[in-house]
Every structure is written in structure tokens, then in C-alpha cells.
């Protein structure tokens, strides 16, 4: 149990705060609470620390983005199938997002229009490094199955490690 949580519970036990106030305080400290010795914060989407359980490292500690693509022979049309395994440092992606800020303002409109035309409705000027952090935090273990015409699928796995 971390120090903040202990203090809140002690205040509740001493009658200094009500149960409702304690609940609000516990909820408030939950996302940013520092882990105590031997305890770690859970991954995004999993329960964190409330029951004292020790779970995996937080996403912010992830260093790499791994993309695995597995296509069998029938899907890729290549004998023996195709396997792609790419590991990219997350710092490289963060720097890449900053690259978008170098695109001249007058080109943003044209790029947004081209993206929308090709089925990717995004606004380039709104992509910020913070968005990438948010994406990484929520990227637990994404698997995309791309269906082919004959019922075969290509598996695309994306995760941070």
C-alpha cells in the first residue's frame, strides 16, 4: 500500500474525513500515485494497485514499438508465406511526430484533403507528441486480422515492449 493511500485510510479511521471524501481522495490519487517499494502500477486498462496486486510495468516504460505481420502463402501469394517483424524505438516515433510540425502551414490543408480522400480523415495540425503518448498508453496488445477473399487472414500484431 502506498503512503498516500495509507494516510487517507488513517484519516478515515480517525474520523477526520467521511467515507465519501475518502473515496474521492482515493480516486484522485489513483492515476498519479507513486508506487511503493515492491509495488508497481498496472498497465493501461488493467486494475492498478488497489488490491495490492503486482502487475506488469507501465506503458511509459516501454521503449519499443513492435509490429508483427504474418501472412500465409495463400494470402501473400509468395511461397512459404511472409513474416515481417519490425521493432522501432518509441523515441524515433516521437521525433517523427515532431517532424510534422515542420510541414508548412499552407501544405496542411492539401495534406488533410489528400488523407481524407484516401479514407484517413485526420487533421495533421492536430497531431501532437502528447497524442502519441496517449496512443502508447492505450496500446496494450493490438491484433488486427485482415480478411482475404477466400476466408484466410493476415495477422498484424502491434504492441509496445
Amino acid at each position: 500500500m502506498n503512503e498516500n493511500r495509507r494516510q487517507i485510510l488513517e484519516m478515515l479511521a480517525a474520523g477526520k474525513i467521511t467515507a465519501d471524501e475518502a473515496e474521492r481522495l482515493l480516486t484522485a490519487i489513483e492515476p498519479g500515485s507513486a508506487p511503493a517499494q515492491g509495488e508497481s502500477i498496472g498497465r493501461a486498462g488493467s486494475s492498478s494497485g488497489a488490491s495490492g496486486e503486482t502487475v506488469g510495468p507501465p506503458k511509459s516504460r516501454s521503449k519499443y514499438l513492435r509490429v508483427l505481420v504474418q501472412a500465409d502463402e495463400s494470402m501473400s501469394g509468395i511461397k512459404g508465406g511472409t513474416t515481417v517483424n519490425v521493432r522501432v524505438p518509441l523515441q524515433f516515433l516521437r521525433a517523427g511526430v515532431r517532424l510534422a510540425s515542420l510541414i508548412p502551414a499552407q501544405a496542411h490543408g492539401q495534406l488533410d484533403e489528400a488523407f481524407t480522400k484516401h479514407g484517413v480523415p485526420i487533421t495533421l495540425s492536430q497531431i501532437k507528441p502528447e497524442n502519441l503518448e496517449e496512443l502508447i498508453d492505450h496500446l496494450d496488445d493490438l491484433t488486427v486480422d485482415v480478411d482475404g477473399n477466400d476466408g484466410k487472414t493476415v495477422k498484424v500484431k502491434v504492441f509496445c515492449e
Binding site: 509468395i78 511461397k79 515481417v84 517483424n85 521493432r87 517532424l99
Partner: protein
């Protein structure tokens, strides 16, 4: 840290290239020699595209420094390609 080495390996069913360790740090020699020209290119491009050339240099430098750790493995048609940047 900037990339110092690149490892390249290509394996085909009937042909096998020995793993190559490419000394990327040696590229610093031509880069340093050509640095005035590279700087001019960045400044020229910055003026042409109305972007801050110093910011562009900073972003490219950041991208260069974050390249180590990149690992690409592709297997298709019995051919295996492996690229790693250290």
C-alpha cells in the same frame, strides 16, 4: 547517441551472405567535411519552405539519435532479410 553500426544479413535458399557489420560512425568523416554544404542546404530548404532551419536540424538530429535499436526482420519466399541499427 547517433547510430554507430548497422548489421545487415540476407539469407536466400541457395545463397547466404555473411552478416555485415557496417561502421556507420565512419560516415562522420564525409558529414563533417560536407557540413558547411549541408548547413546551406538546410537553410535554403528552410527559406524555400518557410520553416525554421534550426528547428528542422533539431528534428532531424533527434530522429538520427533515436534510430539505434531499430530492428527489421522480413522473411518472404524463403529469403530472410535482417537489418539492425546499433
Amino acid at each position: 547517441m547517433t547510430p554507430n553500426l548497422a548489421v545487415l544479413e540476407i539469407r536466400a535458399p541457395h545463397w547466404h551472405m555473411p552478416r555485415l557489420w557496417l561502421p556507420l560512425f565512419l560516415l562522420w568523416i564525409p558529414v563533417i567535411l560536407l557540413s558547411p554544404l549541408i548547413l546551406l542546404v538546410f537553410v535554403g530548404a528552410g527559406i524555400a519552405f518557410r520553416t525554421n532551419p534550426w528547428r528542422a536540424i533539431a528534428v532531424f538530429w533527434q530522429m538520427l539519435c533515436t534510430l539505434p535499436g531499430t530492428d527489421v526482420r522480413v522473411t518472404a519466399d524463403g529469403t530472410h532479410v535482417f537489418v539492425k541499427i546499433l
